[in-house]
Symmetry: C2
Subunit: 114 residues, 2 copies
Amino acid sequence: MGVPLYQAKAELFKTLGHPARIRILELLSERDHAVHELLEKISIEPSNLSQQLGVLRRTQLVTSNRSGGAVVYSIAVPEVRDLLLAGRQILGQLAAQQSQLSAELAGAQESTAD
Amino acid sequence: MGVPLYQAKAELFKTLGHPARIRILELLSERDHAVHELLEKISIEPSNLSQQLGVLRRTQLVTSNRSGGAVVYSIAVPEVRDLLLAGRQILGQLAAQQSQLSAELAGAQESTAD
DNA sequence: ACATGACTTGCGAAACTCTTCATCTCAAGT
DNA sequence: ACTTGAGATGAAGAGTTTCGCAAGTCATGT
């Protein structure tokens, strides 16, 4: 099949590795959005938004269709929601470990308090 | 709280956006590995491996402890497995859509064939 | 036909990432 | 004390990404 699996996977994650692209996917996983709607909710230049949409389109994570004057984007692969959720989970876990660590540092002599 | 959530999320995904780092996490999610064990299974230069481990360590996804001569790495956040799994899922979905597309192109006049 | 709003595309400068090389630390063996 | 194997770290060059600007397309209203 050519491309090693782990490389394809790395590329998928790299695609998600940009704040604007994350926001786009989160908004689209709620409902379809026209570009100008995304533009209202994400504060970047139109051309920048368009570039990021292009990246997501090329990796087939989203699709676009023109509806009159506007171009409407949708999530192409529903499983993206799971991925975003798993990301949120990890971030939460990481934050929890951080605060546990600082609590331990603060009350260093306490034995697994309360 | 400073850093916007979507930015933290982007950074998390960016961390996973590298083939060597993906392989490391997949190996570690099976079991702990010493650096020289990882080195046998992933073919990159030792110093490169060390750099990638450094990246994972800095984002707190893995932890290391020295065991005599060797340094052993472990997954710090078990939820990483879910994230990798979700990635695999999406890749599968994407591949399925690709092959469905080419099938449709091949038998263009067939109506949702066989 | 022309203007307008909604997007997209090409381009270049700045910022960032990857990989390798040389150097360094740490622990165990002699 | 010296050597050796196992890793980490810093720095430099190549390569890739990102962002804003200017210019371009496409459909709708006048």
